[in-house]
C-alpha cells in the first residue's frame, strides 16, 4: 500500500511537471524561441516516456488501458511527432502550435482523473485486448495530428496556395488513423468472439465505436470539388480528433 501511495505521488509530481513543460513549450513556440522549443520538447517527451515506463513497471500492463495511461501515450506520440516536425522545419512547423495545444488539452483533461496505472486485470494479458487498446491510442493520436493540419489549413488557406499540402497531410493522417481504428475494431471483434461467443454486443462501447467509424466514413465521403466542399471536408476532418477525444472521455466515465 505504501509503495502504491509513493508511486501515485511520483506520478502526480511528474504529471504537474509535464503540464508545466507543455505550457512553457507552447509559450516558446509563440515567442519563436526555436532552440528552447526543441530543448523543452525533448525534455517533455523524455518525461512522458519515463512516466510510461514506470506505469508499465508498476502494473505489468502496457500503458494503454486507463485514461491516464492512454493519454500519456497519446501525448508521447504527439510530442515525438512535434519534435520530428521541429527538426524537419518547413511548412509543417506551422501546425506545431496546434499539436502543443492538443497536448495541453490532453494533460488538462487528466486533472480530473487519478494519476495511476490500470488494474492488473486478467484480460489485460490477452494479446487481442492489448492490441485493441494500443491501436485505439495510436488512432486517436493520429486523428489529433490530422486535426492540427486541418485547422492550420482552414486558417491559412487564404494566404498561400501551397497550404493545400496541409490539407493533404491532414487527409493522410486521418486515413492512417482510420487504418488503426479499423484494426482496433477488427481485433476487438476477435476478442469479443473469443470472450462472448459473438462478433459484438449491443452496448454503449459498441455504439461509440460505430459512431467513430461512421464519422470517419463521413469525413471521406463529402462530395464536390468546389471551395465550399473543400472547406466542409476540412472542418469535418478537423473535428474528427475532437469527436473521438470526447467519446473517449465519455467512455472512461462508464
Amino acid at each position: 500500500m505504501l509503495l502504491l501511495n509513493q508511486l501515485g505521488e511520483m506520478f502526480s509530481i511528474l504529471y504537474y511537471s509535464i503540464f508545466a513543460l507543455y505550457l512553457i513549450l507552447f509559450a516558446a513556440h509563440i515567442c519563436g524561441l526555436k532552440v528552447i522549443e526543441k530543448l523543452i520538447c525533448a525534455a517533455a517527451s523524455a518525461s512522458v516516456l519515463f512516466v510510461l515506463v514506470r506505469l508499465y513497471a508498476g502494473s505489468g500492463n502496457l500503458p494503454v488501458f486507463n485514461i491516464f495511461e492512454s493519454f500519456m501515450l497519446i501525448s508521447f506520440i504527439l510530442s515525438v511527432t512535434g519534435f520530428i516536425i521541429l527538426l524537419k522545419g518547413g511548412y509543417g512547423s506551422k501546425v506545431l502550435k496546434w499539436i502543443w495545444m492538443e497536448n495541453i488539452l490532453l494533460v488538462f483533461i487528466l486533472l480530473a482523473y487519478d494519476k495511476e496505472s490500470s488494474l492488473r486485470l486478467y484480460v489485460y494479458q490477452n494479446n487481442w485486448v492489448i492490441l485493441f487498446h494500443s491501436f485505439r491510442c495510436i488512432s486517436l493520436a493520429l486523428m489529433l495530428i490530422a486535426t492540427a493540419y486541418f485547422i492550420q489549413f482552414i486558417i491559412q488557406r487564404e494566404m498561400d496556395e501551397r497550404t493545400s499540402l496541409l490539407s493533404h497531410m491532414g487527409r493522410n493522417s486521418l486515413l492512417l488513423s482510420a487504418v488503426f481504428f479499423l484494426s482496433a475494431e477488427y481485433v476487438g471483434t476477435v476478442w469479443c468472439q473469443a470472450g462472448q461467443g459473438d462478433f459484438w454486443m449491443w452496448s454503449q462501447t459498441f455504439f461509440q465505436s460505430t459512431l467513430i467509424v461512421l464519422y470517419l466514413m463521413l469525413a471521406f465521403h463529402i462530395p464536390g470539388k468546389s471551395r465550399r466542399s473543400e472547406d466542409f471536408r476540412c472542418i469535418v476532418g478537423g473535428l474528427s480528433g475532437v469527436f473521438m477525444l470526447t467519446l473517449t472521455v465519455i467512455r472512461s466515465l462508464f
Binding site: L121, Y122, V179, G195, D198, T210, E230
Partner: protein
C-alpha cells in the same frame, strides 16, 4: 431511369445516409445507457437477432422500430454502394477511370463484403447465451447439440468471483490454469472434448462453445445434487460467415493502407479520390 440511377449512385446520398446513421447511432448510444432500455438491450444480446425480432421479448419501447430503421438505413447505404460501384465500372469500361480509382473501387467492394458479413452474423446461425452449468451437467440446444461439463477447474480466489467481471484481476484468477472440460455432441454422436479457457473457446467447425465466466458458489441460480461448487456461464453459438468475415476484414484494412501509401504524395491527383 438514368436520373434515378444517378441519384442512387450519388455521393450526396451517401453523405446524407451517413449523417442519418450518425444521428441514429447516437440515439442508440443514449438508449443503451438509459435505465428504461438497459434490460431490453440485455435481452437483445442474449438472443440471436432473428429470434429476437420474432419474439415478444423485444421490449415495450422504441427499441424494435429503432433497430428496423437502422437496418433500413444500412440497406439504403448498401444500395448506394452497389449503384455507385456500378457507375464506376461503366466509367472503367469507357476508360475514364484511373488506376487509383479502380483500386478504391476494389476497397469499396471489400467493404460491401464486410457489411454482408455483419448481416450474415445477424441473420444466420444461432446463439444461446447465459447457459449456467456445473460439473456433470448437460445442456441440449434445439439445433441438436448437447454440451456436457466434465470438470470445472478454477485456480484463484473464489470470493473474488463475486466482483463484476471487469474488476477481476490476475491475482483473483489464474486464466492460464483455470479451465472447464467440455464435450460437445450432436444427435448422440460425440464431436469433440476439450479444455476450454476464458478467451480461448472450443471450436468445432462453425460451432463455438465459450466460457463467459466462472461463478462463485453464492452466485448459483439453482441448486443441484451433484454440485461441486464450481459453476460457469457458457454460450453456444454458430456463425457460418465468421471465417469469411475475419478474412475479408483485414484484407479491406490492408487495401486502405496500400491506397494510402500509393497516394501519400501528389496532392494534386488526390482530391476526392478517397471517396466512392
Amino acid at each position: 431511369m438514368n436520373r434515378v440511377i444517378e441519384k442512387l449512385s450519388s455521393m450526396y446520398l451517401s453523405m446524407w445516409i451517413l449523417v442519418f446513421l450518425i444521428v441514429w447511432t447516437g440515439i442508440g448510444l443514449y438508449m443503451a445507457g438509459a435505465d428504461s432500455y438497459i434490460n431490453d438491450f440485455q435481452v437483445m444480446n442474449d438472443m440471436h437477432i432473428r429470434e429476437w425480432l420474432m419474439s415478444d421479448r423485444t421490449g415495450s419501447g422504441f427499441l424494435k422500430p429503432w433497430f428496423l430503421i437502422l437496418c433500413a438505413a444500412m440497406t439504403a447505404l448498401g444500395i448506394n454502394l452497389i449503384f455507385c460501384s456500378w457507375s464506376k465500372i461503366f466509367k472503367i469500361m469507357r476508360a475514364k477511370f484511373n488506376g487509383r480509382q479502380f483500386y478504391m473501387l476494389i476497397v469499396h467492394a471489400l467493404f460491401g463484403f464486410v457489411a454482408l458479413g455483419h448481416l450474415g452474423g445477424l441473420l444466420l446461425g444461432f446463439e444461446h447465451n447465459n447457459i449456467e452449468l456445473g460439473a456433470g451437467e448437460t445442456y441440449s440446444s434445439e439445433e441438436g447439440y448437447e454440451l456436457e461439463v466434465k470438470d470445472v477447474h478454477f485456480v484463484g480466489d473464489v470470493k473474488a468471483l463475486k466482483k463484476a467481471k471487469r474488476y477481476i484481476t490476475r491475482d483473483d484468477l489464474n486464466r492460464k490454469e483455470s479451465f472447464v472440460e467440455i464435450s460437445i455432441s450432436r444427435n448422440s454422436e460425440l464431436l469433440k472434448t476439450d479444455k476450454v479457457y476464458l478467451l480461448k473457446p472450443l471450436r468445432y467447425e462453425d460451432v463455438q462453445v465459450t466460457v463467459n465466466r466462472f461463478l462463485s458458489p453464492e452466485n448459483k441460480k439453482k441448486s443441484t445434487d451433484f454440485d461441486t461448487g464450481g459453476r460457469i456461464i457458457l454460450s453456444l453459438s454458430k456463425n457460418p460467415v465468421l471465417k469469411m468475415f475475419l478474412t475479408v476484414y483485414p484484407v479491406m484494412i490492408a487495401g486502405i493502407l496500400i491506397y494510402l501509401v500509393i497516394t501519400w504524395r501528389k496532392p494534386h491527383l488526390n482530391r476526392n479520390n478517397v471517396s466512392c
